[in-house]
Subunit: 584 residues, 2 copies
């Protein structure tokens, strides 16, 4: 019943779909497990279930009268509780906000006039209408369709239609319990044991841990500061030698296009178009995992115009989101792969974990009808449906309270908060290290890498003080690309700045290089700074990362530390790095 | 961190565990997929994470300050809101209760003195203590351990320890998102494609749909009104011919011991012990799926002592739960397979779906440490953790509000409600049909089957009126065993009472017999009574059910219809049955 209403409903958002092509046949991509899944044998039953006057003794539904929850309520932020510009106003003023969180603090006067930044949502047990969109506990605490509550489906369809604008007509959405489960479903739907999966050369370990035990092989594609390098993807596929590799050419690409984990890189429209076309050519399914999509912000901008570096970085076009409309915000988001997907070969995975909270365990697929149908069957045979308690609260908040426009406003606040935190980290690097552009970096020449050096002594022409040698040339310590999205700064450590590096590399090879990095990681941890070693994210450990063999990598998260903690951590890192690279 | 606390905590409930053996090695049962799952590579990270003063830039946790839920509250029933005896008192009296639901209705006076049957629970955002058991939104809306919240784990461990009393020492519990997902995890943990699974010959289609696509073969074991028949299990395993069957002897038994779906049968201690020993002999893992466990009640008792049948059925020992203590309630529950499990070969799956609500999507495993560890790895790579919003509400209700004793009291109310509903259905059969014991039934001779006939004419020696023939002998229509648990009555339709049955069986074989049943099912549906055809539940369609070939089966649910609906349905069924068996 739910699904019938839902399908009728979605057409509201597809006014222009008449001119779009339908997805092409992708059934050859289904695994044997996915093919084996049976549709429900209960069709006759459903046909009769809708009859007026029918007495149903067929199901096994518990009696909703004795569910112990009679009413849920929640105090929630209003859609505009988060500011969209970092704190400038003083406490008590109408624009006051918390400097750490960007949460607006209503003045006493505005509070008095009812302008609070919170409101209360309430979900009652009895239905308030017979509409399938009605959000009530009788429905949401009961067993339900694996597709999710119709109100949440409708909300998500409107969002997908307006924000992603898929290029094929017959797309649909399907709720899931978060992107790890979503990816697990995709793995079992598309892959046979022994198949290969294409990953960014540094990729999310959670995704790889889900697919690898099947078992599947990891095939890494080179990345730079703008994500996957199309030439490398094409080369790997073009030159695929099944005999040499021991498995057929991969058919599935797993990618995090925006604020990639761990590199922080974001793929923009042009690159996506090229990659999409390569995937058409080699019949690859693109699995687009986008937890950080709404966290895409304008580039970091130096606040210190007195240095040559700062003056140049300040030139970066820097838009003020506060002056923008919701439409401008949306227009600046990089297009989803769905926007180029005229064949239905993209499976997009979204999650509310970063925009609402991870504890919602709610996300959704957007893809063609063959895939949503098979994923629905897989959902029925596993999670059944996301938690109704979570759906009740999130549906009430999004579909009934904030609605589409309110959610867009909320996303702008979320985006602004993480942009502020990204700025904290980059600003701290600038104030603690000596930064310079590094055009010569072998990492990826056309990306604006920033290299952090030891601090030079003013007026001494790039020299630094050395305990043993007196003055010496400053050393490159780490390089990074200030990210435009996500939660991470990916640090490339200049291991070659270490005086013993050449010797270790020659004598001990990659193992020795890794040992050096581990030593540096341990020094940091012993100094109370905990970061993630890059090898956690290595899609093909043991296979050299061409062009970056002389670097070690660390991932730094700017998502949750306070400014004070971050400052302390970056100062400590500076000291530990300088000491590590000192000749002893 | 969570897990460390949890492990320390669980020992509180294992005072006598010193005298129990640990589980034996079951690692040979793991599938290659389960073996391939990696433990987290982040051990070094965890070691440092607990250090005081550590600044963590390692994780990718979103900032909890900007989660939009600031406080949750819920109006919930008190632990004793449900009566434990069916309604007798009048409205307004101190003992008044809703006749349909057994929900107590406080009189105005008791309400005035604060004796309400509801209370409000509230979960705040900031932690109220540093204890890992503290239930707060900062923790529960964030990413969390896949093991679930420590307070819920502790609650469940106490419940398992006191109610199930496993016979091995090193058991543990692991939260999951409900038993379908739980079973899916078990399937992928234990089974290779092509393996067989032992099922009750009539089994839950959801479970079979989860395991079959792997693919796995279904091997059915005969059941009677008390569940699995040990002799048949032994025979199947003893006579296993791998060459003839085409796959190795099954190693996994899926069973619903209490209020089995669809047959309503309950396995008691003696039979479980025998089956456990057979499983030891053939090294079978017992997967005990127990959604209806707490719904185990005293046997149905006839209220009509004026008939021979009623007088005999009234003899059934009938305990009054209202006079019992919680301890008596627990003592009368059939022992879990865990109680006999001195080797750790039982994986028990529990769910809150029937005792709290399906929308909680919360359940748990109880099993040995090898299995909980591998299931935890599988959880990390799929659902990650049950919804924190659901955990917050259920943990607050169970672990902080009702607590162990309160939950036991609540379960007694749930049990009483479903027992009342079971009584409604059996009473209605008694008042609408003519019931007799049927000792001669080939279905299973030692079980008290009840056969429902056409109503006889008083004083006419078992004769009924027939439109064409005038008086004739009454016909057996359906047989059933009044269930002691669950939500279902399993009806065996006496197809052989149909005058064309012998001919159809001879000429058309099983297909013709199925067609007859489908015709009867359609007649019922067309008369607005929707029930489940037995073939939905057939573990091995096409393989004859020895001894019951002349019967067709229907499953009737008594879990959610009102008494009025049920009465109307059973009266309609009577008419449709009588008409169906009439010679036309």
């Amino acid at each position: 019943m739910d699904s019938a209403f839902a399908i009728a409903d979605q057409d509201r958002y597809r006014d222009d779909s008449a001119s779009l092509p339908n997805s092409i046949d992708m059934s050859h991509h289904l695994s044997s497990l996915a093919r084996n899944r049976q549709s429900s044998a209960l069709k006759d039953l459903y046909r009769y279930a809708a009859r007026p006057g029918m007495i149903a003794l067929a199901g096994g539904l518990p009696s909703p009268a004795i569910f112990p929850f009679l009413e849920l309520s929640a105090e929630v932020y209003t859609q505009d509780a988060l500011s969209i510009t970092p704190a400038t106003a003083q406490a008590g003023s109408p624009d006051a906000q918390d400097a750490q969180t960007m949460i607006k603090k209503p003045s006493f006067l505005s509070w008095l006039f009812g302008k609070k930044n919170t409101e209360t949502i309430t979900i009652s047990k009895p239905p308030s209408s017979s509409s399938p969109l009605d959000i009530n506990l009788n429905t949401l605490l009961q067993y339900s369709s694996a597709q999710g509550h119709p109100a949440l489906q409708a909300f998500i369809r409107e969002f997908v239609s307006k924000v992603y604008q898929p290029a094929f007509a017959d797309w649909d959405v399907l709720l899931n319990v978060g992107s790890t489960m979503a990816w697990s479903h995709v793995v079992f739907m598309l892959l046979e044991p022994g198949d290969g999966v294409l990953y960014e050369e540094w990729s999310y370990p959670g995704a790889m841990n889900t697919a690898s035990p099947l078992p599947t092989h990891k095939v890494s594609i080179k990345v730079d500061g703008e994500g996957l390098i199309p030439e490398d993807l094409n080369k790997v596929l073009e030159e695929w030698d099944e005999e040499k590799r021991g498995f057929r050419r991969p058919r599935v690409l797993y990618t995090v296009p925006t604020g990639q984990n761990p590199t922080g890189a974001t793929m923009l429209a042009e690159r996506k178009k090229i990659i999409y076309n390569i995937c058409v050519k080699y019949d690859i399914i693109i699995v687009e995992d986008e937890p950080y999509y709404a966290l895409y912000a304008d580039p970091w901008k130096s606040r210190n115009h007195s240095t040559r570096f700062g003056a140049r970085y300040a030139d970066v076009e820097h838009y003020k989101d506060s002056k923008d409309t919701d439409e401008e915000f949306l227009k600046k988001l990089p297009p989803s792969y769905l926007k180029f997907d005229y064949q239905g070969r993209v499976i997009r995975m979204d999650t509310f974990s970063k925009t609402i909270c991870p504890g919602s365990r709610l996300g959704w697929f957007t893809c063609g009808p063959l895939f949503t149908e098979r994923l629905l069957r897989a959902t029925e045979a596993s999670t059944q449906a996301p938690s109704g308690l979570a759906q009740a609260l999130v549906a009430k908040l999004l579909a009934d309270t904030w609605k589409y426009d309110g959610y867009i406003r909320w996303l702008r606040g979320i985006k602004a908060t993480y942009a502020m935190r990204r700025d904290w980290m980059c600003d701290l690097f600038e104030s603690v290290f000596h930064l310079e552009f590094d055009q010569t970096l072998t990492l990826s020449p056309h990306i604006k890498w920033v290299t952090a050096y030891e601090r030079t002594i003013s007026g001494m022409g790039g020299l630094v003080m050395d305990e043993k040698k007196g003055y010496k040339s400053k050393k490159a310590l780490v390089s990074f690309v200030p990210p435009t999205a996500g939660m991470f700064v990916w640090l490339a450590v200049h291991l070659s700045s270490h005086h013993k590096f050449a010797q270790i590399k020659r004598e001990e090879g990659p193992d020795g290089v890794n040992k050096m990095l581990y030593e540096l990681w341990t020094d940091l941890a012993e100094s109370n700074v905990l970061i993630s070693p890059g090898y956690f994210f290595d899609a093909q450990p043991g296979v050299p990362h061409e062009g970056t063999e002389d670097f070690g990598f660390f991932r730094l998260s700017f998502s949750s530390a306070t400014h004070e903690e971050m400052e302390s951590a970056i100062k400590t890192m500076y000291k530990v790095f300088v000491k590590f690279f000192q000749e002893k």
